[in-house]
């Protein structure tokens, strides 16, 4: 579903390698966790996947479509939830959702059904008629999540999705992610919450200083670490050694 081929990005005239020749393949029906310390290159990689940052070299393929060659077709298959939910403060929640539904050309009856479903799940129904400026950080985050789910994307990409969510919403989001994978769709997300990654992800990649230093299922990571350690210990050992 998602394939990164020799992806690289440098900053400061090539002095800082934010992402260094990453190769990665995420299969359909997989929940893929992308871990790494602050400044490791997680967000840079995600931005290159969703079209916010042009790679210096390498390719991003979504369902075989090159994101930078054929952006419109590729973007129709994905949706992206950024780490900070920046949305139009002056629009009402429902106006924003209608706007997003228009962009993905979703007919009225379907959009109504889907929006109502996700508003119920995230308990945002009572606030959806208010302007977004009146929302808390968590509510904005939920709104962006709903807007990203309206068109039922093949590939759901999230950057630190649990930040700012209350425990109940966080739990529901995890359920949605799992359910999507059961339907054969794909989820790719970055996180600092190692517990979530350990319990939820089918496969995990750990990135440090722009390079992938570990990749595999939880069992594979444990085996390569040589014992039955938690993800937290594996993570700390790997990122400290670098």
């Amino acid at each position: 579903m998602l394939k990164l081929k020799g992806l690289s990005k440098t900053y400061s005239k090539g002095h800082v390698k934010a992402v260094d020749n990453i190769n990665l393949e995420v299969k359909s029906g997989e929940i893929f966790g992308f871990l790494g310390p602050n400044g490791a290159g997680k967000t840079t990689t995600i931005k290159m996947i969703v079209g916010l940052l042009k790679p210096d070299s390498g390719n991003v393929f979504i369902d075989g479509i090159d994101v930078w060659e054929n952006p419109l077709e590729a973007k129709k298959k994905i949706s992206f939830v950024p780490d900070t939910p920046e949305v139009y403060d002056k629009l009402k929640g429902i106006e924003y959702l209608n706007f997003i539904a228009d962009i993905y050309e979703i007919p009225k009856d379907i959009r109504q059904k889907r929006i109502e479903k996700y508003l119920d799940i995230f308990e945002l129904k009572d606030a959806i008629g208010n302007v977004i400026g009146s929302y808390s950080h968590g509510m904005k985050q939920k709104l962006v999540l709903i807007s990203a789910l309206i068109h039922e994307p093949e590939l759901f990409i999230l950057d630190e999705p649990m930040v700012g969510l209350d425990p109940k919403s966080s739990f529901k989001l995890k359920e949605i992610m799992r359910q999507r994978c059961n339907e054969g769709k794909t989820v790719f997300f970055s996180t600092h919450v190692l517990d979530v990654a350990e319990k939820l992800c089918d496969r995990i990649a750990i990135i440090n200083k722009g390079k992938i230093i570990a990749l595999g299922t939880m069992d594979e990571l444990r085996n390569s670490a040589g014992n039955n350690e938690s993800l937290e210990k594996i993570f700390l050992e790997l990122t400290d050694n670098e």
Partner: protein
């Protein structure tokens, strides 16, 4: 005092992005962009030269009348009135709508410390606006009158103090306005309507005073005698419009005697007094207007979601255009600059004519001699120029700010981006056209043909103007801002677009003027339509490529 200095330093750094510029200078691409700015400003110099040249000649006119002090009053008055009226808007957004208030209010700072810092930062910004206007007057007077060193010193003092009174007045009015309009519920609506009425009333007052002063001067029995004997006659009579300007003008023209000295003292003293009053007042009223402003009203009982809340599926460009219009109408600063702007200009012109008292529409009718086409062509030119003056196109991407990620990650075709954004500008233009036609109808200068041609060709011209603005804006979008005023009023893209736009309108206008004697006006309309359509198409093609490139390469 140290706290105020720290605040001023921070505010200036933040407002002008000094640290960001320093950081950007490290990148080669950004360096090029920075070099481009002075080049673009230089390109505006030819039209500026024409203005300076006319100012230089104006001196001669007043010299011949023996009223050369009036020349200075003219310059100072224009500057101070512009400072006052633009100040109303700047103060409103800087004091009440900037996001840094969320950080400053919880800090142990007095309101007057915050206001003083913001005032100084605003003053520095206003110098950038006022110096290009006032300097030609002061320098011309100095050179042509061979004034001495003392004149230079007096000029420096006057220039330094010139924004203080207009800005203090604007601050006092806005602070009072915000305190009294801080009504729960429909606050935004009350403020938008209130602001509009306030501007119209202040302008009407100004124009009325000017008109009364002008008439009473001419009606004086011994006018000619006084004109010869009193070289400050004009200044004293017409200066009542805004007395501080009069004091400044008199002090500069009498710098060699005690009168000049006393007037410069008066000008400085009243400036300082105005600032002190403003600052003391801020301590009492500023927070009252602000605190409610930070809260966003929510309906207590949110209504149940109805089927009608789910809109039927709109085409992407229409949905994007509607979103633009909603944000434009609901953000006060955007509304003041775009919609209110296009409504105010014809109304101000109408008002100033009405205040004159003479039957201006009759005079215009005689002037055009029943040839309404001339009026139509001027109307078309005006509407076309509004296409860039309404600031919608040339700030459309900048206004997205931090929401830009949305447009770059969603599958929106570039042509939909262009159509939607042009549509929102045309919406504002339509309001401008209706106001213009309304004003013309009020003066009895309208017929069905005028309505047709001004609307049709005005809208066509507006499309190319909006696209032109969009080209400038996407080339260097200002996305990193904390105050919605920034992408609208502190955005160089607006100035650059206006510069290029005015050249376009002047060129097309000149062509139409030349063709007037050569062919039937119907052909001229046809030629104008062709020019607008072709340039819209060419700009569209350029935009298409530029947006694609920028959406990919922005970081």
């Amino acid at each position: 005092m140290n706290r105020i200095l720290a605040l001023i330093k921070m505010d200036i750094n933040n407002t002008y992005g000094l640290s960001a510029i320093r950081y950007n200078l490290k990148s080669k691409k950004e360096k090029w962009k920075l070099i481009l700015i002075p080049v673009l400003i230089l390109s505006l110099l030819p039209s500026y030269y024409i203005i300076v040249f006319s100012i230089y000649n104006l001196y001669g006119v007043f010299l011949n009348m023996g009223q050369k002090s009036m020349f200075l009053l003219y310059g100072i008055l224009i500057t101070q009135l512009i400072l006052f009226f633009t100040g109303l808007l700047y103060v409103l957004s800087k004091y009440y709508f900037s996001n840094d208030m969320n950080i400053l209010i919880p800090l142990p700072l007095k309101p007057k410390e915050i206001i003083t810092a913001k005032f100084v930062s605003l003053m520095i910004y206003e110098y950038l606006t006022l110096l290009p206007i006032i300097l030609p007057f002061v320098i011309t007077y100095g050179i042509r009158g061979s004034e001495g060193l003392l004149y230079c010193i007096y000029s420096l003092i006057i220039l330094l103090f010139i924004p203080v009174i207009p800005l203090s007045l604007a601050s006092i009015i806005i602070m009072a306005f915000m305190k009294f309009t801080n009504i729960k519920g429909k606050k935004d609506l009350v403020r938008i309507i209130g602001y509009f009425i306030m501007i119209v009333l202040l302008l009407a007052f100004q124009l009325k005073v000017q008109s009364i002063a002008g008439k009473s001067l001419l009606n004086e029995d011994d006018f000619m005698y006084k004109l010869i004997t009193d070289s400050n006659l004009f200044v004293k009579r017409l200066g009542v419009v805004f007395p501080p300007s009069m004091w400044a003008a008199i002090s500069l023209t009498n710098y060699l005697n005690i009168t000049g000295f006393l007037y410069v003292l008066l000008f400085m003293g009243i400036s300082i007094l105005a600032f002190v009053i403003m600052s003391l007042l801020s301590e009492r009223v500023f927070l009252d207007g602000l605190i409610g402003n930070l809260e966003v009203s929510t309906s207590r009982k949110s209504e149940k979601l109805r089927a009608s809340d789910f809109s039927k599926s709109y085409p992407v460009y229409l949905s994007l255009g509607l979103k633009e219009i909603k944000v434009l109408l609901r953000t006060p600063v955007y509304l003041f600059n775009s919609v209110i702007g296009v409504v105010l200009i014809p109304i101000i012109i109408l008002m100033s004519m009405a205040m004159e008292g003479t039957n201006v529409s009759q005079e215009i009718k005689m002037l055009i001699g029943g040839n309404y086409h001339l009026l139509n062509l001027i109307g078309i030119g005006y509407v076309t120029f509004l296409g860039i003056m309404n600031c919608v196109g040339c700030t459309t991407f900048s206004r997205e700010g931090k929401n830009m990620w949305l447009h770059r990650t969603m599958p929106i075709d570039i042509k939909d981006q262009i159509f939607g954004r042009v549509l929102s500008s045309l919406f504002v233009q339509l309001i401008g056209i209706v106001t213009l036609l309304g004003c013309l109808a009020y003066m009895g200068l309208i017929n069905v043909q005028s309505i047709f041609w001004i609307t049709l060709l005005g809208l066509l011209g507006s499309i190319s103007m909006t696209e032109l603005g969009m080209i400038v804006d996407i080339y260097r979008p200002m996305l990193d801002w904390d105050n919605p005023q920034k992408p609208m009023k502190q955005n160089l893209n607006v100035l650059i677009s206006m510069g290029i736009g005015s050249i376009y309108v002047l060129a097309v206008g000149f062509l139409a003027y030349k063709l007037l004697d050569m062919m039937d006006v119907a052909f001229i309309y046809g030629i104008l339509a062709a020019i607008f359509v072709i340039s819209s198409y060419v700009f569209f093609k350029i935009l298409n490529r530029l947006i694609k490139r920028q959406f990919e390469s922005l970081e």
